[in-house]
Subunit: 286 residues, 4 copies
């Protein structure tokens, strides 16, 4: 019987990425104090040389299944750790590939506390990936998406001017505020540990205010006051995250890639406001 995928081609083209998308699997990740189950969306790819007709797609699923099964015994410390193992195994099983790649995303939850001691369980989104070059380096990327709140400094200023408010006690004028989603991701060598929880904390500290699922009346007022004491454009959020990354990751080498995006679902518009910086630690230090 013919092996269709192994058929040899003449004068064809190599392919950058061949693989499977929208694979969903539960993964257990060992955290300091407990095991966490993540429901992960996976995309897995290898490249394909010009002379081979097809990639053996089922091997991607076998690799995924095996690495996830192993993770139950061998303790995986995070998605990017899993990504590293998957990339290695993809290169073993796809002997014709020169590189491999995996993208993962999952809901993630952390207990969050307000200054008054009240807590609630908040949801975030993890986005991790890994890329391996045969005989070369593996890089991993750890990213977080954090939902929070921005209050607009421009409308605040404008309203104060309109209403002739100069008294510092009412400095905190009304303005539009809204839901915001800010993401931060860092691409580092595979052996560099990086903690998603720390990235989430960096982002939350740079918003006008974090948001909470449970807010009693007094908590709600406090969040509103916090946000209005700290009005921010999406531009401010991105820059404050960049500044915090610079301070908190002094040891990261210059070639580490840093991506920050911030999108506000404007309450006064039907469109969103957006800011982004795609850079390296080296450029930020310059």
């Amino acid at each position: 019987m013919k092996d269709m995928q192994n058929q040899k081609l003449d004068g064809s083209f190599k392919l950058t990425r061949v693989g499977v998308t929208e694979v969903k699997k539960p993964v257990i990740v060992k955290r300091p104090n407990k095991d966490v189950t993540l429901i992960v969306d996976f995309n897995l790819f290898v490249d394909l040389p010009a002379e081979l007709k097809g990639s053996h797609m089922s091997r991607n699923l076998e690799v995924l299944s095996r690495v996830i099964d192993d993770s139950v015994r061998e303790s995986v410390s995070g998605l990017e750790d899993l990504g590293f193992k998957i990339c290695q195994e993809l290169l073993v099983r796809h002997e014709y590939a020169t590189c491999s790649e995996v993208h993962m995303s999952a809901d993630y939850f952390l207990e969050r506390g307000m200054s008054n001691g009240n807590t609630s369980l908040e949801s975030y989104r993890l986005k991790a990936s890994a890329k391996s070059i045969r005989g070369g380096q593996t890089k991993k990327c750890i990213g977080v998406e954090v939902m929070g709140m921005t209050a607009c400094p421009c409308a605040m200023e404008e309203v104060r001017a309109r209403r002739g408010i100069t008294d510092e006690n009412v400095a905190m004028s009304i303005t539009h505020n809204q839901r915001n989603v800010t993401s931060l991701s860092l691409e580092v060598p595979a052996d560099r540990p990086l903690e998603a929880d720390k990235l989430i904390q960096i982002v939350e500290e740079c918003l006008s205010s974090p948001t909470y699922e449970i807010l009693k009346r007094a908590d709600e007022a406090q969040v509103v006051i916090d946000a209005h004491s700290n009005p921010k454009f999406v531009e401010d959020v991105v820059r404050d995250v960049l500044r915090s990354v610079l301070e908190k990751y002094k040891d990261l080498p210059d070639d580490v890639r840093v991506q920050v995006t911030s999108e506000s679902y404007e309450s006064i518009h039907k469109h969103n406001a957006y800011a982004e910086r795609d850079t390296t630690m080296g450029e930020l230090r310059a």
Copy 2:
């Protein structure tokens, strides 16, 4: 050759809805001053008796194509008008069906003006449907989805109390505000004209403030002030829409179905606040 769909079955079950979903077509609608092109998502269904194996699905697409083609010549005044014609034609072509049904949705745009004369083109969502019973009535449903803004009355009161504000001049305290989507739909007999633009206007007047794509600095302050002068829960929005429908459609009979929903994408939470009333004109009048 066997006609699979016409195969006779014994002891099987009738089906409530059989048809096609996610059909997308451009439709030209004649409005008072101009022709408007809508890109419409269609779902079309008929019922199927227990003794027939299959519905002739391709007839749904032929009906759709024919009615849309005709609409170019014969002037369709709106989606619900189109829905009526589709339902009639579905019953003609599916001779075995006792009822037919079509659901439509489309983006829609209106020029909107602020009190200072500035205007911008705002987007809305139309949702229309029609149902026909063979030998009986056709009902049509016209619905609109309107994006706007709500400012929370509870947090406003709470902040005022916290900060000891009693002066009426600063009555308009800070609060959380956010994007809101409110829908209104009415189900009426097929021959009762109903204007989607009027439904949009009703909803926009019931929000804390409409929102605009283009706001210069002074406009932005005005929208913020308007919204804070008019704080509303989602409950308030739904009730105000109900009240407005009662006033503006005094002539609608008691059995007309009225559905109103309002969802606020809370700026202080990661979840949404939601209110809904599903009722009839008669119940509202009681």
Copy 3:
């Protein structure tokens, strides 16, 4: 300080549903052999009388948090069990409400085996809900969404006729086949146990073939042969599920509501084929 929500209204309207949507929480469910973590999307509602301005939204989140925390200690056997407890607690906390309602959905995974003994972990979607009336009954609804495969009987017949195939050995002609999503849900009294795994099995047995994440070459051929030996319209799938429900739930009372939908993402069209039956056990038995 004014309690805005408790403000009394005159001549206003009651609301059918007031609450929160798009709340996401991890829940641990005790299954026969193991604990399973589900990441659940929740919508929670109560009704609101005409004379009350607002519902206390934060209570919904407190109820959710408490019931989920309790579930860690007290063993929840499934989403619908959780739904029952949430509905009860919502009525306790919203003393003004006459009814409560919760909707839940979550990814779910089962190990599935082919006839040759190969297995893979397959993903499904659970959809459960519960409704309570104060002083009355609680009903729960358990539903599953199953992705599988349909092969079209009509095109198969047509191709055979076109190519003059009468030989029974090549009865299995080529046809179009495609991804299909079929759902089944049953609404039963709260004290009636119902197993989602059994609903999933019923649906999978009614498709042209189940689908699998890992298929080696011989497995793949087998799935293709199975699907073509068993061609089905969406109408067939819905009816076969109804028949199977009748046989496997003989003890369910006549007033149990049964909903079945089947949607094929047609490979030869850009739209989907759809069939649905919304009925009761009593009607099915008639």
Copy 4:
């Protein structure tokens, strides 16, 4: 009054992209035989220097509104033409920016005919973008997303082997086939005309078969036979598109970027099969 956006910053960071997302507007495009209304989703960005606090977001909407209004008078030949004008105007209005960027996508419809003369209106997705550098070049990117059908060559071969079919007359064995979405985009200098309709045609010719909204029984059999006569992996689809681009755009310079992706919604799996090539005309010619 302070102009918040114009506030000067010290020691801050430049931003790569600042602007607005999810803006929706109707646009009229002049085609050879008629005017076509597209409902376009826009994202607009400029960069922001380190020393400026904020970008003037409302200018993006004013630019968009003006360019679209002008298009009614001045005849825009396509989305990428519109993109060029928007990029130019963004640089005029954002005097601090060194580059501007716009991304657009819209549903698009073409009448398609089968070999027997039957036609139906088919839907596609256009994706266009443009980038301008102040004092430098503007590049535009024209892309199309085409839904069609793939039939798997591997399962076909496998089934033939399993069933011992060697007769050439039944060469066309059963296999799994499914919905596929393939995209092609080319990035060219702004003054190079490129026709989206031609890109759509290239892609449709490279699938196992195009798909059609209206298929009478004989048409349906023909599409099934066509697809099975022409089985293709996603890898084959991408390579055939690359080959066709090479042949049909011999005049395009070496630095033109070419991106092709193909994703099959596998009927036998719950995940998708995916192939991609991201390259240049020069690399393809090498």
